[in-house]
Symmetry: C2
């Protein structure tokens, strides 16, 4: 029976996120959900301009709200006493109406989407504030915005006094300045106080998720690269079970801008169904007024829903195409700032973390193109406080499972998980994945051929960069078998930062022991390369660090060609090794020429076949070195 009353500024109502949000009522089920009562505060002005909705005809405004699925009630005037009565009467009516809607849905089984009431409160801006300042009308105009006057001239001081006295403090406080008890009495008590309502401190209501053992969803990986898997699909099976187990507690939902199925999370839709309270027709696919998968084509609305859901004590995953999550960059900023500040407020209980799954990522856009290639949300997230941000780049399905479980158990964070949806070779069995992910970074022994004294460190973060790195290593094994290579894989990006900067940061000793203090490091990274420099510039061996990543070279092309254009591909990495390992340039001149020629073969082949070379597509661990 929860009722959320939401006051909307008429200026605010001009923003995109708000304009889209009205349609949330198509996803609200009166039988099982609470209700939202929007109060559009039509005070006519913003900072310096009138508002659009205050300057269209009343008919248009009514049509607009009706078109958004609301029945508007107008409360209009400027006489406080009359307005008080009018508002009280309207609220009574509106609350009855909401109750009736809920009764019909709950008792009479009416499933049709109701027309919810909304209130339009029409008052002067700066109502009851100073009317005229310096000869200019203030009350009822934009001039009353925030600060009706600033300098404390004598005249202004007098205005201030009159203004404050207009509230008749002598009737409100006794001689000692204490609020009169009969007035204090009127305020709600205990949990009825706005600041103490548990729905406003969702951590109080938080119930841990019932989590299945993620190991039960593991892919069988008999050896590195021996099977192929679609990471998000495996994650989807796990999340589907989370959905099933927690259905009784109604505290877990998946949110996505119409991409759950496209991002291979269909299993979650199978179990949870998509929430839909607009019209249903025969042939509709897994839509239901009871659904727990929330989909609307607005990243803004999704982000708003997710934040509301978390802040009232529930759990969520927000799955999005990587490139389009930038749409909520500004909302993320505000949410991260909120988390940061609320950490310092002792009575605030931590809420579940905001978990972003970013998939359909930059490297696998296939029939989409340049517009869909943008790995920069990670950079953006890292501008916010280390205490509230985490970024994970699991290299395969089993690692993704471990990380997902970890994120669902965490509290008060923003977790960004980047993982592809396309079939790719799998590297780690579940045991290794657990160990690898719990450290967040580590040497892959099976891929390395050195015993503590490598010639080069090949580091990688992200599924595609990991695959290209391993292919490069495999290639080097064949053609430069004497070269001692160490492979370091990074799942938890924050491990790269100094410990002083992030709680997950490696100590310098740990970092030096992984990356050496003097050997070349070729780092293949999922996103913009400079981020790795930013995270590591204080490390001993930073001078030898060479990073490959996305550098805004993209188009609609084959998967491998994307890596070639950005010089993140296996052959470019081999070339980088040859160029950076001292003494190798001469010795390996033939190999260098070979990879150069392979780039040419690649270019010719994709032009002719529109598909990648067999020696690229068929590659898996050992393909080069064991042939």
């Amino acid at each position: 029976d929860l009722l959320a009353v939401c006051v909307v500024g008429d200026g605010e109502a001009e923003t995109g996120p708000l304009a889209a949000a009205w349609h949330s009522n198509k996803f609200l089920n009166p039988a099982t959900d609470g209700a939202v009562l929007p109060i559009l505060h039509l005070n006519g002005y913003k900072i310096a301009n009138p508002t659009v909705l205050a300057r269209v005809s009343r008919e248009e405004l009514e049509a607009y709200l009706r078109g958004c699925g609301y029945r508007p009630y107008f409360v209009e005037g400027d006489d406080p006493a009359r307005m008080h009565q009018l508002m009280a009467a309207t609220l009574d009516k509106v609350l009855d109406e909401i109750e009736e809607i809920q009764h019909r849905a709950r008792e009479e089984g009416v499933v049709e989407r109701p027309t919810w009431p909304a209130i339009v409160l029409v008052t002067p801006k700066g109502w009851t504030g100073p009317k005229i300042v310096d000869g200019q009308q203030v009350e009822g105009t934009f001039r009353s915005h925030q600060v009706p006057f600033a300098e404390m001239t004598d005249e202004h001081l007098k205005l201030l006094e009159d203004w404050l006295k207009s509230y008749r403090p002598e009737e409100l406080f006794d001689e000692r300045g204490t609020l009169r008890p009969e007035l204090a009495e009127l305020a709600p008590k205990g949990k009825r106080r706005m600041g103490d309502n548990p729905h406003a401190n969702g951590g109080l209501l938080l119930r841990d998720l019932e989590l299945p053992d993620f190991r039960d969803f593991a892919l069988e990986v008999p050896g590195p690269g021996r099977v192929s898997g679609e990471a998000t699909k495996v994650m989807g099976a796990f999340l589907a079970e989370v959905m099933r187990l927690n259905a009784p507690y109604r505290n877990f939902r998946l949110f996505s801008p119409d991409e759950a199925e496209s991002n291979r999370l269909g299993a979650v839709v199978d179990v949870g169904l998509r929430r839909w309270n607009a019209q249903l027709i025969p042939g509709d696919d897994r839509l239901s007024p009871e659904g727990r998968v929330m989909e609307i084509l607005s990243e803004h609305t999704i982000e708003g829903w997710v934040e509301g859901y978390l802040l009232t004590g529930r759990h969520a995953v927000f799955a999005s195409y990587e490139a389009f999550i930038h749409i909520v960059a500004s909302m993320f900023n505000q949410y991260a700032k909120w988390l940061d500040v609320s950490e310092e407020i002792s009575w605030r209980r931590p809420v579940a973390s905001l978990n972003y799954l970013l998939t359909s990522h930059v490297w696998r856009q296939d029939h989409n193109g340049f517009s869909h290639q943008d790995p920069g949300f990670i950079d953006h997230v890292l501008t916010k406080k280390a205490s509230v941000t985490r970024v994970y780049l699991p290299p395969d399905a089993n690692c993704l499972l471990v990380i997902t479980d970890k994120c669902l158990r965490s509290r008060g964070l923003v977790n960004v998980i980047v993982a592809g949806k396309q079939p790719q070779p799998q590297w780690l069995d579940m045991d290794s994945a657990i160990k690898h992910c719990s450290a967040g970074i580590g040497i892959w022994e099976w891929a390395s051929n050195e015993e503590g004294d490598p010639d080069v460190v090949m580091a990688c973060a992200g599924d595609v960069p990991t695959m290209e790195t391993l292919a490069a290593v495999d290639f080097l094994r064949k053609y430069l078998p004497e070269l001692k290579v160490r492979v370091v894989n990074v799942v938890d990006l924050m491990t790269l930062q100094p410990q002083s900067e992030h709680p997950h940061g490696l100590t310098d000793k740990e970092f030096d022991s992984l990356f050496t203090v003097d050997k070349p490091i070729i780092f293949a990274y999922h996103g913009y390369p400079w981020l790795i420099h930013r995270l590591t510039y204080r490390r001993t061996n930073h001078g030898n660090l060479h990073v490959r990543g996305y550098k805004e070279e993209g188009t609609t092309t084959t998967p491998f060609d994307m890596t070639v254009r950005n010089e993140l591909d296996r052959f470019s990495l081999v070339r980088d090794v040859i160029d950076r390992v001292p003494g190798l340039a001469q010795r390996a001149a033939r190999i260098r020429q070979m990879v150069r020629d392979l780039h040419v073969d690649h270019a010719l082949y994709i032009q002719e076949h529109g598909d990648d070379l067999p020696l690229v597509k068929e590659w898996t661990w050992g393909y080069y070195s064991q042939s």
Copy 2:
């Protein structure tokens, strides 16, 4: 008489930016502007879900569009021939209606906002594509999205053949596969072709702005710090004249989300007036259906308007609070990608640059607070190609004038200018400002006391960091007069990058000569400190670079306290110098203690007075050293 026909997906219509954009019609003047005809394509589905607007009653949908100020015409059906006739008839009607609206406005002087027509095109999704695939309905459902079937089984191949044949190619092409001349004849010719319409290649229509001599707007600066000025106000006077001079050509507008006046650009409003075609009432402030200042409280709508305005060959400035420009991060991404790609297309003529003025910045939020503090848009912009991005941080009003002039003359770029609106000491007279800004970076001789062999380089970028750096230098002159300090100011952030990375980048020789190869550099930067590391990590002296900037420590506090919390203040900078110049720590122990005590004085004083210490507020160049 330009008519822009805009097809809107019903999925797309769920997004915030689109939902807000409907209200653009309140800013369109039928007497002087062209017209927009929206066609809402109600094909009912997105990728995997139905669309909201297709699943509300037809009454609600009509009300919605009427509420947005449109008169909707429905064109509905699935028989191609009938639909063709229906659409043609409706277009005839609608175009007549538009002409009538324009006639009334232009000939009869009707000023009231008209109800513009809109078309709702209701067709099956995947219309005329394969109807049933693998036993499932495809035409008319979400399954027809993008790829109705993928694998080329025999059955699918047959489907593909039937599908393509359904367009009766034998009637369209002759035996040799050439389009029949009588059909080719039907297509528009020359500039009537969509791709050759000059409005779609705005550079063709571009007319250089008439620019007044910006020197005429210079602040008289008799000596560094001798006068105070509000940078954006000075810029506003210049832009007002640009507005006036170009009024006859109707090709310059200022865009802002209701912040032009707040950002001290009121002079532009005085000249240009604000565009407003909704209701006008007595007392309205500089609103007019002819206005050239575009204000609506939607950063998204503003960005959309600006892009449209530039792409059709006009000039614009987009002024925004720094923190909220993140709202358009994703739109910026797409625009920058577009610029990048269009540079390679030989027939595309360059359009005027997209000029962002970011003001009300992180350091001066005064009565706003933490939510309004976010300098990260710069970081975001730098993820895009160097060939299309520029970032300027003019330290004072005269520099802002030089940069504004430069940006208005530039083409095909995104220029980000960050400048405060609050009164601040001014440093450079116009002559010096021109020289300084044309290099983009330079030693400030008057603030330095070394002849080529400094003990420390004090670098700064941004108005507040520059002021704090100069105050620190002034303080050092008093208490450590023998210390040789070099002050380097950076206006053009891109100069810091290697020349190989950005066309404005300094050569290593230039960089080394400014920053030395071995002396400590204390860099006070406007935004997140790691950006400076990112730009300079390849430079010789990077190991000695110590950057101060915003580190997400903020609240509603005094201006100076913001710098203290982020350790960017003069006293922290003095401490940094003492800590970093070899041998100084011991010698200057007393001074170090003094600045520590000043931090305490500061904390006590702002708590008691809610305002900054006089020795901070009254400071200007020479205040410490000459007292």
